[in-house]
Symmetry: C2
Subunit: 395 residues, 2 copies
């Protein structure tokens, strides 16, 4: 068997693996140092009580002959899709347009199959590395017609929007709001102008709202709050950060029925075909847990966790501001994005590790514009966050 | 956005969707008829008690601060990989070579990314449609060098092996044993000869053992029981049919460390990179359930279910033999494969529906050699299987 040459298009190390290697090495050389991991963005608060109980009940039901269930429905349990449509989208989308997934990363990869080998992809930069990595595995990034993978630099300190005008007709545009890693969420007017351009240029926006639960106030939580978005956008959501489901695995993708290819064929039926061919649904247990997470009690449990993470992030931001770092995020987002004096973000990573024992994430892992930045995460037990803050204060 | 032309390479309807449409139509026109669904191969027995309890306990643990877990390890929980290696493989493979997945279908699709756009794929025919469908979505099936998707006809009534000599050097070969749909499992000597050819021709065998738990006696349950297979085979397994996990979602893929591309680079590291880029692991709950399923109590619970399904399939086979059908399977497999007098397998499907109200699966859905056959499934409640047998007897 021959090697798929697209593997050569990936950087040799996946960000979080390289990070783990550096930390392991540091720990080995400095066994006396206590480290605080605010690198990988992973939830730390236990599941809400009623949500955990619903998961447990779903498992118990499976030993009952009448309640046992094999393969779930193609697009996911209807009550879950109804809850997603009504609770998260106020019915501006329909349950038929929701595809339940086992998480955002998985559906990002599945979407690459939908887009095909000739797709021209533009990625908000910096952003979640899975957009670029899955694009690099899906196609040759240099085609006859030019580059098929480009970045749209969007740094908070420059206060610019992704320049969609620079992307050609029919391009695929990956956007993430609230952005991972910068923590910045689009304003309504900003998102509106992006949708306008995409519609005019027949571009398809893949809009990642994995962090939507962190938005406070009136900022848009979904691209479909913008007129016209149903004709130019697919939206990807996740229960991972919203409900602490990173290990439980549950997400969703919205493919509006109005969304068509340039030739007028609807995308919805192809996506249905794609998921039935390459996926067998999220665990029924996770789906049952998701239904409870979107009930009134579940939403209260979720909200408590979100506020705790936001408080963590806000406190970190405050401590960094006092030390004159240039930062963004820390509101509407669990992340704080730090502009550092170091030109290499791996140097900045090493600086934080050496000086504070805090593990952050080097910005370069999120795209070329991430150079000279690091991300620090508000996901952590409050006592650890407090300890991290003391260490930052003594820098 | 432009449509990925590979969607045109798929038949317009996914088998099980077309089947559902025909059944719905029949039920509408014949509301008085009671139907018995032995079409889709889906488990019907409730989960074993200790397995369900372990799933439930895993959910309860997630509300405990000390026991809560976010993202699981890249390749899956170590205790699960250890159990798979020791219990299912008697340690002929190591836990490091096991990648826990959310099911066989999902990993079949992920493997297509590993193989890339120029891969030449040969598929045992008939077999599980996901091999062909995911291949058709992954690449142009006609390349400059010729066809990239071919079938290896392997009908029980002809008693032939997949003719690997017909496949070129470096080809990918999909094999399934015990075969879905024919129910036939490879003999040790047969599998040995297939491994020999694959090794000599640098072919890679993808060996699907989703139905391995149904094998009785000394037939090989894994391709790694054959000398040399670690140098030419990836194996895909699943808890779906083994433990009733079709809705729980859990499987595994074995990528031996000895396995290399033709250029000598190991495949294992690419597959690790692929799964960390496009997947975030099976649900922690499902993984905990899998650990219990492979404990002594869990294995007893599983065995009882397997024997029940085998008894169902055996009884169906007996009834069909009495009616002079030419059949295979029904031992080492939950399926019975029927050669029919109808040239079109959809006609045979309609025949069974009209005459008996039994829903079977048309053979054409499993590949071109499936024409003139149907598959009947032993997955069903015993009282329904008995009722189906009476209907067959009165044909």
């Amino acid at each position: 068997m021959k090697r798929n040459p697209f593997f050569l298009q990936l950087s040799p190390n996946y960000l979080f693996r390289e990070l783990k290697n550096r930390v392991d090495n540091f720990a080995l050389l400095n066994p006396e140092r206590s480290l605080i991991s605010l690198g990988v963005g992973d939830t730390t608060e236990p599941l809400g009580t009623t949500i955990a109980e619903s998961l447990s009940q779903a498992a118990c039901d499976m030993r009952d002959q009448e309640l046992y269930m094999g393969y779930g429905p193609d697009q996911g349990l209807l009550p879950l899709r109804e809850k997603i449509a009504s609770v998260l989208y106020q019915d501006i989308i329909s349950p038929d347009e929701v595809f339940v997934s086992d998480g955002a990363k998985c559906d990002i990869a599945r979407l690459q199959v939908l887009f095909g080998q000739d797709a021209v992809v533009y990625i908000q930069d910096p952003s979640y590395p899975a957009y670029a990595d899955s694009s690099r595995l899906a196609r040759s990034i240099v085609g006859k017609e030019g580059h098929r993978l480009s970045y749209l630099s969007t740094l908070p300190e420059k206060d610019t929007l992704p320049h969609l005008e620079a992307a050609p007709e029919d391009a695929i545009i990956f956007l993430c709001s609230p952005n991972n890693p910068t923590g910045v969420a689009f304003q309504r007017s900003e998102l509106s102008s992006l949708v306008d351009i995409a519609q005019r240029k027949n571009q398809l926006i893949v809009y990642d709202v994995a962090y939507r639960a962190f938005i406070q106030g009136d900022l848009p939580r979904s691209i479909y709050e913008i007129e016209g978005a149903k004709k130019c956008a697919i939206e990807i959501g996740s229960f991972s950060k919203m409900a602490g489901f990173s290990g439980i695995r549950l997400g969703w993708t919205v493919v509006p029925k109005d969304l068509t290819y340039s030739n007028g064929i609807t995308i919805h039926s192809d996506f249905l075909r794609l998921v039935t061919t390459t996926f067998n649904g999220a665990s029924i247990l996770s789906q049952r847990g998701g239904i409870q997470a979107l009930s009134p009690e579940g939403l209260e449990e979720i909200e408590r966790q979100i506020l705790l993470y936001l408080e963590n992030a806000g406190s970190l931001k405050e401590a960094l501001l006092k030390k004159n770092f240039i930062v963004s995020g820390g509101e509407h987002s669990p992340y704080v994005w730090i502009k550092t004096e170091h030109t290499s973000s791996w140097d900045a990573f090493d600086y934080f590790l050496q000086e504070t024992g805090i593990i952050v994430t080097p910005g370069i892992g999120f795209g070329p514009s991430g150079e000279g930045h690091v991300r620090i995460s508000g996901f952590g037990r409050p006592y650890l966050i407090e300890s991290a803050i003391r260490r930052i204060e003594s820098l």
